[in-house]
């Protein structure tokens, strides 16, 4: 089929056959002329628009979470708050491939997923503040924040609560023969929950358009992964479910974007589920900013991971590629900051839910 016999058109100085082991490169001369001035090679890969959106998603998550953490410390946010700072590349890289018709289930660390799915700051902050104008009218809070309109089936206070629901949503997609997918985010801690195994098995069995994204941040609450499972790569379990298991660098938004893109495309085409493990890290504690001061990981470890910061690394590369200038990046941050400030003001001024709304929505009254 192929003309493999054709002699190559190499007419350069015949290679000297004298054994020149370990020749040092110093002696070598540039013999060949460099490629003529590159005729503006067209780069492959995502468009500038996509790159900017990925960047914006990560910045929005970071700014939202940093501010939420501060609001919590200031006593403005009641209850528990699990911050997503550090893991932004995962939410951004995956969500870039999803529309509002695609479903996701999230975790207790769920704000980042909602922001990346298109969540607006005003109803988000209002929800965290427990106000009537929140996404859940103040009934869910941080751990149950959701938006059905955006295809976000809720943060979840139960570790391992999301995957069976995502599997059900994927079943729904397949049942109704649309091309939508469902993505279940979960952590290394949740990977030990029976619910995750059951959901993964069923998704593979029914070949559902379901992507299991394990955000392995090395800790299940305050317990290091090495103390909660005998494996290091959750992706190893994929073979047991009968689906592909893939690991990618969860601190590199392009690594996540590419890997998730392949998994999602495969699912849309009817190829079934994938287990995608993203190695990542949370900068803050399991709960809150400084957490409970428990001694379970070192500052050196945290600093080492921060050196791989997803946003800093991506911004550096965007500047190198000429996609964004430093000034443009600063403008993005400033605009997001402004959004945050306005949203906090909105939340602050929003009313608390009226006492007589307490029993609303326990049941769907009209359906009875």
């Amino acid at each position: 089929m192929l003309a493999a016999k054709k002699k190559p058109a190499a007419k350069k100085t015949p290679a000297k056959k004298k054994a020149a082991p370990k020749a040092k490169k110093a002696a070598a001369k540039a013999k060949k002329a460099p490629a003529k001035k590159a005729p503006a090679r067209k780069a492959k890969g995502p468009s500038e628009k996509t790159l900017k959106e990925l960047h914006l998603k990560m910045v929005r998550i970071r700014r939202f979470e940093e501010s939420a953490g501060k609001m919590m410390e200031d006593g403005k946010i009641p209850g528990a708050l699990h911050l997503y700072v550090g893991q932004e590349a995962v939410a951004a890289g995956v969500m870039q491939h999803l529309s509002n018709q695609d479903w996701i289930t999230s975790t207790h660390r769920g704000h980042g997923h909602l922001v990346a799915k298109g969540g607006e700051f005003k109803p988000m902050f209002a929800e965290l503040f427990g106000r009537a104008t929140g996404y859940c009218k103040g009934k869910g809070g941080s751990m149950h924040i959701s938006s059905m309109d955006l295809g976000m089936l809720g943060a979840n206070g139960i570790v391992g609560g999301g995957p069976p629901i995502a599997m059900g949503a994927a079943f729904s997609n397949k049942f109704r023969r649309n091309k939508n997918v469902a993505v279940a985010f979960f952590g290394d801690g949740a990977s030990n929950e029976g619910s995750v195994h059951e959901a993964a098995n069923m998704a593979a069995l029914y070949k559902l358009p379901c992507i299991f994204v394990c955000e392995n941040n090395g800790y299940g609450e305050y317990t290091a992964q090495s103390r909660h499972q005998a494996i290091v790569d959750v992706a190893d379990r994929a073979a047991g479910y009968g689906m592909p298991g893939v690991i990618c660098d969860g601190m590199d938004v392009m690594a996540v974007y590419e890997a998730a893109g392949e998994a999602i495309e495969r699912a849309r085409k009817g190829g079934g589920p994938t287990l995608l493990e993203c190695k990542t890290y949370r900068y803050y504690d399991h709960v809150g900013v400084r957490g409970m001061g428990l001694n379970y990981r070192t500052d050196e470890e945290i600093e080492a991971w921060k050196k791989k910061d997803a946003i800093e690394g991506f911004e550096k590369r965007l500047k190198q590629l000429g996609v964004m200038t430093e000034k443009q990046i600063k403008t993005v941050h400033a605009a997001v900051e402004k959004d945050v400030d306005e949203a906090i003001e909105f939340a602050n001024e929003s009313p608390y839910p009226e006492a007589d709304t307490l029993l609303d929505n326990v049941y769907n009254e009209k359906g009875a």
């Binding site: 493999a4 000297k16 020149a20 020749a23 490169k25 494996i231 290091v232 974007y257 590419e258």
Partner: protein, 330 residues
């Protein structure tokens, strides 16, 4: 008599990237890697080895195998060589430097092409025996670990000498303007990608140039692109340089990843002598031994040269034949 030290490196990350999804690459779970090391160690110990230095990988693959053997009552000394754990290629590079200090006569490397490359990057003139667990395995050999281990043992005891049993391999030296140089053992590829991203080379369209130390028609990955149109064996003192383009007159239908064929069009195929240097400039992304590794900026110069500057590799076949002749196991 105490044998010389055998180094052990297992790459926990090999065999798990996106090629399991896009191509049809195999998953290599870490329990299996641990079992492979365990078998290799059995081979080595039964051939008389008793000194090991292993890199403390984040998954305790080598350490776990040694612990198992210790529990079985095998007698040996094992040194744990601590190494940074960043879950990146840096672990193996730094690990190679750390291991070098313990002066192993030969090092067993469990992983794919990328693992061996990273190790050599950290320790240029090492002697190694690469065993395959990765994806594009041109460099490591498929061999039963028990036998590979026995070969290691035969060398460690001095029954077979390095001079008799190793081969110096070719390598591509990569100079990058203003940055650390780099290397590739099998292939260096210039792509129009903008990012390292998920690392794997999956888009034949994006490839501009391929440099090969060997062009093997019996392998997968970039080496097959050359191998199926202009085979070039490891023994020959030359490299291959191919430039790609949509109007290229040569067409090659090659498995650029396991189970994944693409038709590439080549504009030019040239054999490189060891003195030849190919120079070009960015922007581009460079991939080495199957994985995107370096992002090159616009105008930044890159120079590539093929030479026999690589590590020495232990020939299992030769070693075992010599060992058998010398009645090492009798």
């Amino acid at each position: 008599m105490t044998a010389q030290t055998i180094g052990i490196v297992a790459n926990p990350a090999s065999g798990k990237d996106v090629r399991r999804l896009v191509a049809r690459a195999s998953v290599f779970d870490n329990r299996e890697k641990c079992a492979i090391i365990r078998r290799a160690l059995s081979g080595a110990i039964n051939a008389g080895a008793d000194q090991f230095a292993y890199l403390d990988d984040s998954h305790n693959i080598a350490g776990g195998a040694l612990e198992e053997l210790e529990e079985l009552g095998e007698e040996f000394d094992a040194i744990t060589v601590p190494c940074v754990q960043t879950s990146s290629v840096l672990d193996t590079i730094h690990g190679a430097r750390a291991l070098q200090e313990h002066d192993p006569i030969v090092t067993l490397i469990l992983g794919g092409d990328g693992t061996s490359r990273a190790f050599v990057k950290g320790w240029r003139d090492c002697v190694l025996l690469p065993l395959s667990t990765g994806t594009n395995n041109v460099f490591p050999r498929m061999s039963e670990a028990t036998v590979a281990g026995a070969a290691l043992g035969a060398v460690a005891t001095g029954a077979v000498t390095l001079e008799e049993a190793t081969i110096a391999v070719k390598m591509i030296d990569v100079e990058i303007e203003g940055e650390e140089p780099d290397i590739a053992l099998i292939d260096a590829v210039v792509t129009r990608d903008q990012f390292i991203g998920s690392r794997a080379l999956l888009d034949g369209d994006a490839i501009e140039r391929i440099f090969l130390t060997r062009a093997e028609p019996t392998a997968v990955g970039m080496t097959s692109v050359g191998g199926l149109i202009h085979p070039l064996p490891e023994e020959e003192d030359a490299g291959l340089h191919m430039t790609l383009g949509s109007r290229g007159k040569h067409r090659v239908h090659a498995p650029i990843a396991p189970g994944m064929y693409e038709t590439l069009r080549l504009k030019k195929i040239e054999v490189l002598g060891f003195d030849d240097v190919i120079e070009f400039e960015g922007p581009c992304v460079l991939a080495f031994d199957g994985e995107r590794e370096r992002e090159i900026q616009a105008g930044q110069m890159v120079r590539m040269r093929v030479g026999r500057s690589g590590p020495s590799v232990l020939d299992i076949h030769k070693t075992m034949h010599l060992a058998a002749c010398r009645k090492v196991f009798n």
